[in-house]
């Protein structure tokens, strides 16, 4: 059986999904964590569970919401689990009614009963279940309590059809539904009642679907007629009328199932909000948190840990491997491939694992606590000034971890223009893969001010993104009104286990990439450096790698790094940003990070080093990001644009910094 999991945003669908399937998907405390469908298997190994983005209604406003409607229109589903937030039952039930009208069996998982109780709302689960007419199981999605019962309820074979006529919409609409049924003439397998009501509400996805079965003109005429009829007889538009009718039904349900009590005390959430979204303190608190995050990642905690790991990899590990190779009598070729290629290339990247995990830990903390939505609120004024809205800041924050999920998160932005703009600009956020490059260079040139220099790069990325947003939104992406309404979820005390899982989930991608992509890349780069036009085992300057890098190197003369080594690493950096480090480790034959840093000062001046970092920050989205941009925009033109503008901006800024710096007398 295929069972779909549907509910309002931020009601714990993904937590429930993880508990029901025993798998692990990404969860967070903000609306829009899940932007596409995910399929898992129930613990009984028979039935499939499909996790879908959160929606308020089946009539979508944004792209992630459209995923659900499209799913219900085009894919097979046997049953549905509707997860309800008990503390916001009223608005949650609007969706439940639409699901009942869809006509497939529905089971309710009632979540957050504890939150409701704290707000002084007690719910009678049995009464609620009787009123709606479908089975209901209380659950605590975060801990998994009640999930077994819910799984049992939904996977059991017998289940009656739900009451699709739970709401009576009055004579005009009910008759129109009957007429639509005749028009449709059983040509679609979806419930005609559901299709009709969705169209009356203005659901464009459903309308497009119905046009496959009914002539476009006929359908439009039918819709105009019913809209006029309702407007004339009720005085409100048809969508408002449908909403009112549903609300009447919900009020009846609520009257029976709800017991209102005294609210116990001011919720903690409101006390925290009074501080972090304070008029004066809001922005400073946000910047302070960011500063703490960077200091911990780069200075106080991250650097010492990375140094320890570096010492281990280049010391104990390399020695052990060398001894083993000697004992096995490996040839000079194998010897060089493993030590100078793989260990240098992969090890050079793995050294940065501690810093990257610390960064991911903080991003997970922001997401899980509920602070993320507040950041969007606090930043909205600034974002509005550049033609975006506060929600666009969330994809950018996620982009600090990795640009790919950042770009996906842009789906929650309702207006297409702002969404496209966010997709185009998120790659300017300095992702974790760029972090090793900074770490290496600040270690070589700016030991005293390392956290400050790195912070300056992150801020530069944000500033460039904002300036370009202003530029693009007032030139190529003009028009369309901006839109900002955001739900601010209550704060939750993050659970350590969930935090760790979330951190690990993000970080493991980095480790995995080191073991696969970077591994293969390192072998390839080493090979290019080992062979040349003159044969194998050539001097490095005569290798193919030097030839390729040297070919483009003169282009970088004006921005301070006319060496074939820099040229070669920039090319590999397109594949993955951390490949820059692998390449440099291999090229410079550096046995460890410290000696590579020593070597770098022969090739770069500090000013050229900073110019190089700025160039790396901006010059091109990595291959995976480019693929995601193409997938999300569906446009070759915008994908090419995202690469083109980045190159131009990177070159211009590096030029200004390098030449300007020289004029000012920096080296």
């Amino acid at each position: 059986m295929d069972i779909a999991l549907i509910g309002n945003p931020n009601t714990g669908k993904t937590s429930l999904f993880n508990n029901l399937t025993g798998s692990y998907e990404y969860v967070g405390n903000w609306s829009g964590v899940t932007v596409e469908k995910k399929v898992g298997q129930f613990k009984n190994k028979k039935d499939k569970l499909i996790d879908l983005p959160g929606i308020y209604s089946l009539n979508p406003l944004s792209k992630d919401e459209g995923v659900v409607t499209q799913f219900l229109l085009s894919e097979h589903v046997d049953k549905m689990i509707n997860i309800l937030d008990a503390s916001q039952l009223e608005r949650n039930l609007h969706l439940t009614i639409q699901l009942l009208e869809y006509g497939k069996p529905v089971v309710i998982g009632l979540n957050m009963v504890d939150v409701a109780l704290k707000r002084g709302l007690q719910i009678e689960p049995n009464h609620l279940s009787n009123q709606i007419g479908i089975p209901l199981t209380p659950v605590i999605a975060r801990t998994g309590k009640g999930c077994d019962l819910l799984a049992e309820a939904v996977t059991s074979e017998r289940m009656s059809e739900p009451n699709a006529r739970i709401v009576n919409y009055g004579i005009e609409i009910e008759e129109a539904i009957l007429r639509f049924e005749q028009l449709l003439d059983n040509k679609s397998s979806r419930s005609a009642r559901w299709l009709a009501l969705q169209m009356f509400e203005g659901n464009q996805y459903v309308k497009k679907y119905v046009k496959n079965y009914i002539e476009s003109e006929k359908l439009d005429q039918f819709l105009v007629e019913i809209k006029d009829t309702v407007k004339r007889s009720t005085g409100v538009s048809i969508d408002q009328f449908i909403f009112q009718k549903r609300k009447e039904t919900i009020d009846q349900i609520m009257a029976d199932a709800y017991i209102k009590r005294e609210q116990i005390k001011t919720p903690l959430s409101e006390k925290i909000d009074a501080i972090v979204t304070n008029k004066i303190l809001g922005l400073p608190i946000f910047f302070l948190l960011m500063y703490l995050m960077f200091m911990l990642t780069f200075d106080w905690l991250g650097f010492p840990l990375s140094d320890l790991l570096d010492a281990f990899i280049t010391g104990t590990l390399s020695n052990t491997i060398e001894n083993l190779l000697n004992a096995a009598g490996a040839s000079a070729f194998i010897h060089s491939l493993i030590l100078d290629g793989i260990v240098a290339g992969v090890g050079g990247v793995l050294v940065f694992v501690p810093q990257i995990f610390i960064l991911f830990f903080f991003i997970s903390l922001l997401e899980d606590s509920g602070y993320m939505a507040r950041v969007a609120l606090v930043m909205d004024r600034l974002m509005e000034a550049v033609g975006l809205n506060g929600k666009a800041f969330i994809p950018m924050m996620i982009g600090f971890g990795c640009n790919v999920p950042g770009i996906m998160a842009a789906r929650t932005i309702e207006t297409p223009k702002e969404r496209l703009l966010t997709i185009l600009l998120t790659p300017l956020m300095s992702c974790s893969a760029r972090l090793p490059v900074y770490a290496l260079f600040v270690g070589a040139f700016f030991v005293q001010q390392k956290a400050f220099i790195v912070l300056s790069l992150y801020i530069l990325g944000i500033v460039v993104a904002l300036v370009l947003a202003k530029l693009f939104s007032s030139t190529i992406l003009k028009g369309e009104t901006s839109f900002f309404v955001i739900e601010l979820p209550p704060y939750r005390l993050p659970q350590f286990q969930a935090l760790w899982r979330s951190t690990w989930d993000k970080g493991k991608g980095f480790v995995k990439k080191a073991g696969t992509f970077i591994f293969a890349g390192s072998v390839f780069i080493w090979l290019l450096s080992y062979i040349g036009p003159g044969g194998t085992d050539v001097a490095l300057d005569d290798s193919y790698l030097a030839a390729i890098g040297g070919f483009i190197a003169p282009l970088f003369e004006p921005i301070g790094f006319n060496t074939w080594q820099a040229g070669a690493s920039l090319i590999t950096g397109f594949l993955a940003k951390e490949a820059i480090i692998s390449t440099m480790n291999i090229i410079y034959f550096a046995p460890d990070e410290a000696s590579l840093q020593g070597l770098l000062s022969d090739y770069f001046t500090p000013l050229a080093g900073y110019s190089f970092m700025v160039f790396i920050l901006l010059y091109i989205p990595c291959l995976a990001t480019v693929a995601t941009i193409y997938k999300e925009t569906g446009s070759k033109k915008w994908t090419a644009f995202s690469m083109g503008y980045a190159l131009i901006i990177a070159y211009l800024l590096a030029l200004i910094i390098y030449q300007g710096g020289r004029l000012l007398g920096f080296m």
Binding site: Y56, S57, L61, S87, Q88, E90, R91, H94, R119, F243, P267, S269, E270, D273, A274, T277, N278, K279, I280, G282, L283, A373, A376, L377, V378, D380, R381, E384, G390, E414, T415, T481, F483, F484, V485, I486, E487, L488, P490
Partner: protein, 74 residues
């Protein structure tokens, strides 16, 4: 008008028909419509959005929209 009230004040919404359709749809999704009681939680600086609470849930909306919502003070 919502948006002219002070922080901490409560009001009931009388008319939201003047605001943009998209915003109205989203507010409806969140359960905010004529007759809903809301409480002003805070104003962001420099004319930024305002945070309102209704039925225990907090929502951020822009001031341009807030001033188009007719309310009565409670």
């Amino acid at each position: 008008m919502l948006g002219k009230l002070k922080k901490g004040e409560k009001c009931r919404i009388l008319d939201i028909s003047r605001i943009d359709l998209l915003v109205r749809r989203r507010l409806l999704d969140l359960g905010i419509t004529e007759g809903t009681e809301v409480c002003i939680k805070c104003y962001m600086p420099f004319g930024g959005p305002i945070m309102v609470e209704s039925c225990g849930q907090c929502i951020g909306i822009r001031r341009v929209e807030a001033v188009q919502i007719e309310v009565e003070r409670l």
